[in-house]
C-alpha cells in the first residue's frame, strides 16, 4: 500500500439524518457519532480507512458550515482549508461539483475519490485492494468509476448498479448498464436473483476534469454557477462565492443528476461487507451481538432479554428484564423505548417531540 501524492479523498459529511433519533440530532448527525460502538465516530473511521491510501493533506471534507468545528475536532490532522463549508445542503451533485472545481484548481493532475462519511466497511484490506484497483483504472483511462457491492438480500433502501457482464474490462470491472434508485421489493428481489445488479456504495473515483465535463453535459446550470467562481477557488474569496452559488443550485443526487446519464461509467464488482447503516435495523445487523442476540454495551445488565439494541451513555447503569426485539436508546436528554421493527416510526416520535418541545430535542 502506498500513498499517492496526486490522489485525493473527498469525504461527504453534510448529512443531517434523523433516522437515529434520539442519538442523532441536528447538532450532531450520524457521521459524528460512534453509532457502531467501535470507539470511533463514523467520520473518523472513514478517514482512517482511506489514510493508508491518501496523504493526510489530500483529504477534503465537505460539510455544512455548522459542522466545520465538529469536523476539525474529529479530524485534527486536517487544516481549516481542507474543510469545504456548504452554506446550505444541496444533495451530492453540488457537493461533488464544489470539491471537483476546488481540486482541479489545486492540482490539475488530481485523482479524486468520493466517499460518504457515515457507512460501514467490514473488510478493510479487501476494501483497499478494490480502491487501488479502481484508482489504477481511472488513472489509465480517465473514466467514471463506481464501486458496487454484491447484494446479499433485496434491500429496498439502496440504489442499484446494473453491470454489463458481457462487457468486462477486467475480471471485476464492467461497464455500467443502468443506475436505479431504491426499487420496490419485487424489483429488488429480481435484481438480486439476476446476478447483474450491485448495491451502489456511493463511492466514486474519477478525475476532476472528467466529472466536471459530465456535470457540464447533464447539469449545465450547476456547471455555470461553479464555473463562474473559477478565479476564486483556493483564494480568500472562495467561501463568499460558494455562499452566492449554493442557494442557486438544484438539489439533486450525483446518481440521478449525472451518473444515470453518463455514457462511460464503470463498476468494480466487490464483495467486502458494507452497509450504509441507514437504520437501527442495519446497525443491528452489522454490530457484534451477545449470545442472546443483543447489541449492548458493557454497562447494560440484561435478564431474559433477546435481540434488543441498547444505547446509553457509558457511565449509566442500565438494567432490562424480559424484552424481545426492542430498541432502547438513552441519549441523555431523551429516552426512546420501542419495538426494533418500528423504526419507520422514528419520524412520528420526532414529530411528537417537536410538537411538545419545539426544536429542543431535535
Amino acid at each position: 500500500m502506498e500513498s499517492h501524492s496526486n490522489r485525493y479523498c473527498v469525504i461527504m459529511a453534510g448529512g443531517i439524518g434523523s433516522r437515529f433519533w434520539p442519538i442523532s440530532r441536528n447538532s450532531r448527525p450520524k457521521q459524528f457519532l460512534d453509532i457502531l460502538g467501535t470507539g470511533k465516530t463514523l467520520l473518523r473511521s472513514t478517514f482512517e480507512r482511506f489514510r493508508p491510501m491518501v496523504p493526510e493533506s489530500n483529504f477534503l471534507v465537505v460539510t455544512n458550515a455548522a459542522y466545520c468545528d465538529l469536523v476539525l475536532r474529529e479530524l485534527p490532522e486536517l487544516t481549516r482549508e481542507q474543510v469545504l463549508c456548504e452554506p446550505i445542503g444541496r444533495n451530492t451533485a453540488a457537493c461533488i461539483a464544489y470539491a471537483a472545481f476546488r481540486l482541479r484548481a489545486m492540482d490539475p493532475a488530481a485523482e479524486m475519490i468520493v466517499t460518504p462519511s457515515d457507512h460501514f466497511v467490514g473488510d478493510e484490506a479487501e476494501f483497499r485492494q478494490v480502491v487501488d484497483e479502481c484508482a489504477a483504472f481511472v488513472e489509465g483511462n480517465g473514466s467514471l468509476m463506481t464501486i458496487g457491492i454484491e447484494p446479499t438480500y433485496p434491500n429496498t433502501q439502496y440504489g442499484y448498479i446494473q453491470a454489463d457482464l458481457s462487457a468486462r474490462v477486467t475480471e471485476d470491472i464492467c461497464r455500467v448498464k443502468t443506475f436505479t434508485e431504491k426499487p420496490g421489493i419485487e424489483m429488488a428481489t429480481a435484481f438480486v436473483e439476476s446476478g447483474e445488479f450491485y448495491w451502489n456504495s456511493g463511492i466514486f473515483l474519477w478525475k476532476p476534469d472528467t466529472i466536471i465535463g459530465e456535470i457540464r453535459n447533464s447539469l449545465p446550470d450547476m456547471y455555470e454557477l461553479f464555473e463562474s467562481a473559477a478565479p476564486y477557488y483556493n483564494t480568500p474569496q472562495e467561501e463568499e462565492h460558494i455562499r452566492r452559488i449554493y442557494p442557486e443550485c438544484k438539489a439533486v443526487s450525483i446518481d440521478v443528476g449525472v451518473m444515470e446519464k453518463a455514457q462511460d461509467a464503470y463498476v468494480r464488482c466487490s464483495r467486502f461487507r458494507w452497509s450504509d447503516i441507514g437504520t437501527w435495523g442495519s446497525l443491528y445487523e452489522y454490530s457484534d451481538k451477545d449470545p442472546e442476540g443483543n447489541v449492548v454495551p458493557a454497562n447494560v445488565a440484561l435478564f431474559d432479554t433477546k435481540n434488543c439494541v441498547v444505547k446509553a451513555p457509558e457511565d449509566k447503569m442500565v438494567v432490562v428484564e424480559n424484552l424481545e426485539e426492542y430498541l432502547i436508546v438513552d441519549s441523555g436528554d431523551v429516552l426512546l423505548i420501542c419495538p426494533r421493527g418500528n423504526e419507520q416510526n422514528i419520524k412520528k416520535y420526532l414529530e411528537e417531540a417537536k410538537f411538545r418541545k419545539g426544536d429542543r430535542f431535535i
Copy 2:
C-alpha cells in the same frame, strides 16, 4: 382544628428502603423522594399532614445521622434540636424509645403521636378527625392507641390489628385483641373476610410515660440503656450518650417488641385511604393514571402503551411504544426497564449493580 401546645409529633424517618431502586438510594431513601409525583417529598407531605394539629416547634424527626441535613433541608421550619440522630438503625422500638425519653424530659405533660415518614394518606380531613379523636382518648385514659385501616384486599405485606368488636369503647375505638405480622395469603384472606382485622398503619398515640412503662415491661434491657442517659436528654451530652446506647440496643419493631405484649392497647378503626407505598405496585395503585392506565409524568409520550409506570427526570423527553405492564425508571445514572409484576426482582437488580460497580449505584 386547633394546635395543642403539649401535643408532639414524632416522625420516624430513618428508613433506607431499597424497594424503589434505582430512584431510592442509600444517599436518598424513599421518604426524601417525591415518589408519588405530587411535587412534595413523602417526608414533607407527612409534616404538612400533621402541621394543622401540632405546633411546628413540637415536631421531632428521628433519622439516621447521615440524613440530618436532608431532613432540615426538607423541613426548614425545624431547628437542629428537633432532629434526633440515630448513629445506626435499630428498628422502630429504639427509635420510639429515644423519642419518648427525650419528650418526657422536655415536657412531662406531653402527648406523643408517632408516625412513619413515607406513607400515603388519601383523605386528609378524615385523617385529622381520626387523629384528634385518638388524641382525646389518650388524653383521657393514658392508654396505647393505634390506628387501624379497614382492609380493602388481603395485602400480605402489612401487619394486621385484630379489633375486639365486642369491647367497643366508642363507635370506632375498640380494644386490641392481637397484633399480627405479615400473614400468608390464606390467612390474610381469612383476616379480611372476618371483618375483625385492620391494617396496622404504624401510627401510634400515647403519653411518653405510658410507652416507657411498656418498654420497661417488654424490653427491659432497652429501657435500662435509655434510662442510663436520663440526666442528659436535652443537653449537649445527649448525642454522645445516644451514640453509646444505640449499638447495644436490640433491633426490633415496636409491634413485635412491645405492642404484641401490651395489655391495654386500643385501635381506632378507620376508613381513610392509606398505603405504606412499600412497592412500585402500591405506588401504581395510589397514583393518578391516564385513560390507558399509565402512571406517567407530562414529559412522557406513549404510543400503544398500557398500565405502565414511568419515572424520569422532569427535563427528559421519554418516548415509549408498545409496552404493557412495564416499569420504566430513569434515575439519571441508572435506567431500569422491567415488567411491573417483577418488583420482587429489584433486589436481584441491586445485587447485579453492586456486583458490577460496587456501591456506586446503590
